[in-house]
């Protein structure tokens, strides 16, 4: 039993001294780079430039920050710069010059932030320097409100919206730079541009956090680089296995007739409807109750797998570049509580909310009421911060539908954030934090079922689909328990 529990599908290569020694030598480095290139080629078409950037960084570790900046801008250029989701409602003929001015808008956004950063750091006693993140967010929201009142057909609107879209993409990276402004590990602002949308993977959520954190986790010796790269290989190949499992499950749950009749020779499928389909079908009315449950659970499982793979691949690239970051998703099914699952499921998004919303709230409000202090700060992060992040990310909708209309379309997601924040807050206050204090039955049966069950049910409301009301979602929730209205 002990031997079975210690079994690893992918061995812990980074803990074997001989392997670590080999990984520091030229043949070892070449082998690791080749293994990574082979693995990453299954995940991205840009595997060749990515591998080239990694090779240069592997052999010139002393130039890593500069190389990272070059690699990041190189990968942005190769990908035609970030997708800024130009609003569809702007006439198409206006979109043609976008390709040419996108780098200029990007440069303008970076200069805008550099000026803001200089003002904040050089006038530390100024009112705007006291709360620079809040002020930047408020300023951005005001710009969005102003832009929604401009006629969309004008060329100026196109430039303004592109500028706002670029700022929106970089907003949380900028915030990390502001958070890091006091940290002694923070590199020069010019080099920090290489940490915004780093070449190992793109997300509006900074992976992994800001420049100070990256400097902290950077490999500082050949041995540390070897360990980081071995962990990268392990994580990448683990992600590929999970990806395979996800595709097999997709085939079994949904079939993949639109792509090919079978996957890996599996032509059998259960024909489970998607969660979107059951929610839209009169809030699940036209499907039997067990099919509603299957749709919900299948969606949760596939999403969990997809999400794990996505984060693992980005972190694997980061580790390969010499930054030994923690995993984004770490054994969520072993969570000891609702708060623990939130920490394990999407670590870097949770960190973003903690750094930008939780700490500022925690350090200011309800200091004399410890429980209320913790609860309120958690609600500010998982509820308000979560909603604000997703609202600002949906800039295409804001441009197309307007500021207030888009905000209204987030009412179901606002409810989701409220429940999530409340549940995590209560979990932090009252749930056991470690599984070692639990009985076997509670640890292995009750806790996973209730924690995963909670998030599975809550995923019903994880939606910004404005075609469905909050009532529709509640009707679907009730139908799961065979409660019918009308």
């Amino acid at each position: 039993m002990v031997r079975l529990a210690a079994f690893r599908l992918i061995p812990a290569l980074d803990t074997y001294p001989k392997v670590v020694d080999f990984a520091q030598k030229l043949p070892g480095k070449i082998l690791l780079l080749a293994l990574f290139s082979a693995g990453i080629s299954f995940r991205t078409d840009n595997w060749l430039p990515l591998s080239a950037f990694l090779a240069v960084m592997t052999f010139l570790p002393q130039c890593r920050p500069v190389l990272l900046t070059i690699a990041t801008f190189g990968s942005l250029y190769l990908a035609n710069w970030p997708n800024v989701e130009i609003p569809w409602s702007i006439p198409q003929q206006q979109n043609s010059p976008v390709i040419f001015f996108k780098p200029l808008i990007l440069a303008a956004a970076l200069v805008f932030f550099a000026v803001y950063y200089a003002v904040v750091t050089k006038n530390r006693d100024g009112w705007f320097a006291k709360r620079p993140i809040r002020n930047l967010l408020v300023f951005y929201l005001l710009l969005l409100l102003t832009a929604t009142n401009l006629p969309l057909s004008s060329p100026q609107a196109l430039y303004l919206w592109t500028f706002l879209a670029v700022i929106g993409k970089y907003l949380w990276f900028f915030n990390y730079t502001l958070i890091d402004r006091h940290a002694k590990e923070t590199p020069h602002l010019v080099l920090q541009a290489g940490y915004y949308f780093p070449f190992w993977g793109w997300s509006t959520t900074p992976f992994p956090k800001g420049a100070a954190y990256l400097r902290k986790i950077e490999a500082k010796s050949p041995a540390q680089l070897a360990v980081s790269q071995l962990k990268a290989i392990k994580l990448l190949y683990w992600a590929l296995l999970l990806s395979l499992l996800e595709r097999v499950l997709r085939q079994i749950f949904y079939g993949s007739a639109d792509v090919s009749p079978a996957f890996l020779g599996i032509s059998f499928f259960l024909g489970i409807p998607t969660l979107e389909a059951v929610l839209h079908a009169a809030a699940g009315h036209s499907y039997p109750w067990h099919m509603n449950w299957l749709a919900l659970i299948a969606n949760f499982v596939v999403r969990l797998l997809w999400f794990s793979v996505w984060g693992h691949v980005i972190i694997a690239g980061c580790r390969m570049a010499g930054y030994n970051a923690l995993r984004n998703t770490y054994k969520p099914l072993q969570s000891a509580s609702i708060a623990d699952f939130w920490n394990r499921f999407y670590y870097y998004f949770k960190e973003l909310l903690v750094d930008n919303f939780f700490y500022p709230t925690f350090l200011r409000y309800f200091k004399k009421w410890p429980k209320l202090r913790l609860f309120f700060a958690t609600l500010a992060a998982a509820g308000f911060g979560n909603l604000l992040f997703h609202f600002l990310r949906d800039i295409g909708a804001i441009a197309g539908k307007g500021f207030w209309q888009t905000l209204w379309s987030f009412r179901v997601y606002a409810f989701y954030g409220l429940v999530l924040g409340t549940a995590i807050g209560l979990s932090q206050l009252y749930e056991k934090k470690r599984t070692k204090d639990m009985s076997w039955f509670r640890k292995n049966i009750i806790t996973p079922v209730y924690v995963v069950g909670f998030y599975c049910l809550l995923s019903i409301f994880d939606s910004s689909d404005d075609k469905l009301t909050l009532t529709d979602h509640f009707i679907f929730l009730c139908k799961l328990f065979n409660i019918h209205f009308s």
Partner: protein, 78 residues
């Protein structure tokens, strides 16, 4: 009791709650390494507020300040 010893004892108690051993060096990473999480950092904040009157609301918060015993010592006696 010496401040360094007092904080070290507090950190050892914190590590015990996270199933980690009590031995660590003054410069060892406790948070970035994954030994402690953000909830543990909060307990450190509250401890330092109560024991040393630390107020981070104006100063700004940096999790790295809590990453090692040396960093924490720098925080309470800048």
């Amino acid at each position: 009791m010496d401040n360094r010893i007092k904080i070290k004892i507090f950190l050892q108690e914190l590590l015990a709650d996270y199933d980690a051993g009590p031995d660590f060096g003054d410069d060892d990473s406790l948070v970035t390494s994954g030994l402690l999480d953000s909830q543990a950092v909060l307990r450190m904040v509250v401890f330092l507020e109560e024991e040393y009157g630390l107020d981070l609301a104006e100063r700004g918060f940096d999790q790295n300040d809590f990453d090692s015993l040396t960093n924490i010592m720098r925080l309470i006696s800048p």
